[in-house]
């Protein structure tokens, strides 16, 4: 596989995963009001 084709495939893969990541998740992001919490485990 040529250099150009390989890099193009990597870019396409990165873009597809980014788009797929948006499509696969339904998380509503919210920022913290506090800068510390109690531990969880």
């Amino acid at each position: 596989m040529s250099r150009k084709k390989f890099y193009a495939l990597l870019v396409i893969a990165a873009l597809s995963i980014s788009i797929g990541g948006v499509a696969c998740g339904d998380t509503v992001e919210d920022l913290d009001k506090l800068d510390e919490t109690y531990g969880a485990t």
């Binding site: 893969a13 990541g21 920022l31 919490t37 531990g39």
Partner: protein
Amino acid sequence: MTKREPSPSRASSERAPLSYRARLAGVLALVAVVFLPLLRHGLVYDDGWTLRSNGFLRPGQFELALLFSPEAGARHVPDAFRPTLVSFDALSVRLLGVEPWAHHGLSILLHLSVCGLLARLLRRLGLDESSTLASVALFGLLAIHAEAIAVVSFREDLLAAALGLAAMLSAVRGIQAERARAALGWGVAAMGLQALACGAKLSAAPLPGILVVLAWLGPGPGCAALARGRARLLLIVGLLAVGVALAVAQTWIVHGGSPYGVDNPRVLAQRIGLAPVLAASTKIHVGYLQQILVPLGLSPEYVDRGAGWLEPATLLASASLIALLVAALVLRRRWPLASFAVLAWMLASVPTSNLIGLPNMRADRFMYLPSAPLCVALAVGLLALGRRLAAHPAIRSQLEFGLELGPDPERSRTRDDLHAWLPLAACVLMQGSFAVAEARVYVSNTTLWHEAARRAPESARAHALLGLEYSGAAQAGDHLDVEIAAKAEDACRVAQQLDPLYELPQLCLGSLAISRKDWAAAYEHHARAVELSVDRNDRPIAALAQLALDLPSAWLRHHPELGDRQHLSRSWLERGLGAYPYSPELHAAAARVHHRLGEGERAMQLYRRARSLRPDRWETVVGGVELALDLGDAAAAHRTWWAEAKLLERADPATRTRLTRRLAAARTAPGFSLLHSLLDPGVFPYEP
């Protein structure tokens, strides 16, 4: 004007096939780019406990020797039974501070290191280049790894995997070495790396067993040499086992047995017994397999619950696991790689299989290292499927028609090559997409616990921690947002109903009571939390020591056993400071108590200690400046106010306004000198 033709040498270099190293670098770059959005994430989950509020990691506090003595457990050093991790954290805090983006960047680098080491090991075992690259791509983007990569404090899994793979690589080189001296050198290196890996997390402990299975099944061309010299294999496996024993001995020295305590109620097996926990564990492991293959149902939180051995779901899960084991053993000669993958996954899952009690029965991060052999088998299988599909006449003609390619043999070879990768590419893209989606859950604590409560509605922890987030958000200075406070109370009450014997719902209700200035209720909830909890009591004790001074007289009259306010507050502080000498919040709270009691010198001493344990906490600096003003040292107060201007920008507006007014008033005093203030060393003269 004519278009410039590319020079023949440049054109041929562009057409020349890429080297293996360049393609590996490309795959690693893809993994890095996919996880790059993590750099905007905050510190979540246990990051506050292990990193930000862990005074032991700060310069001047960290002592390596302490991690090999029972004193580490007695002083409640976070994760004291993981000396490699604690040392790594101390080094990273010294180099990077506590900036979230820097630590997320470090986690991504660790993940890339694991991928790189996996590639090196696979090549050493004789796997071909294409299969190695495919395995690395799949492992690097596997969705179930999102939690381990996205949460800074879970880098213990990444560190253990990186060191464990390095130990395996050394062990394989030791077995393959021609000279005995070189073999011994590699073996000792493997032992050291294995001890360090298990010192990061005991999830690396089964690696010697996996090496034996590797030598037995010989799934790759390079594995044949592993089984040739049995004495050499035994020596290296023995050295790896010594590495594991060293790490176990450290845990034993520090905690005298289980790091979670022998009667920890957070370990479900302590409450309901081991049998129902193991029954549930069979279902959990079938669930892990499904999530590795099809990443549906991933979650930041799972509810710990037992199961009966005769329940249909348990029977089905147990039968599936046994069938898988039998199939792996029976088909070991026909499909050695698949057999190895199954057996290695089972062995690697042992440390987190709930045979030994853990505070979480299930977590996505537990599958970080165990998923590696499955990824290799899956990637090789998908490549084989792709080659078979590409060679199939019907599919081949359809693809040729679709792509409208000509008869050029070079293009035809490239096309065949690409077709062979299609099933793997589809799988990697799917896994990567789910990994990106899952990683977003960990952007902030509010998002994390909101999602956790949504996906695991029966989790008391998720509701309690969501309630704590709401409770903090409800208060802005002296103003209380009634609507958010009501949401906080709902979450706290749900958590309490789900688990009445859990400390977090009590802390949630206590925090809410503080927001509502109901000091008696806050004291009762925090006292109950300390009663229920076996560890991490520094913050509740800090709250109790301060609340004790504000308890209403009527309430105290009903509790004569508690004594007077000052005595009660001092007794909490004595207990807390003795048990948690590295807690910055507790030292700052103790300073405030002594400040209120008019013991300026002791208060200043404690503020300075709190500052050295966590320099990035503005509340401690504000306390020190106010104390200096109360002691009449306006010069020190001003010097610190100016020197810490950037840090104090994070203080809430009400606090900043109060301090500004007090400093302005101090400047009107007859003895105030601007020059004196500039030359003064300030409240915290000995910077850490």
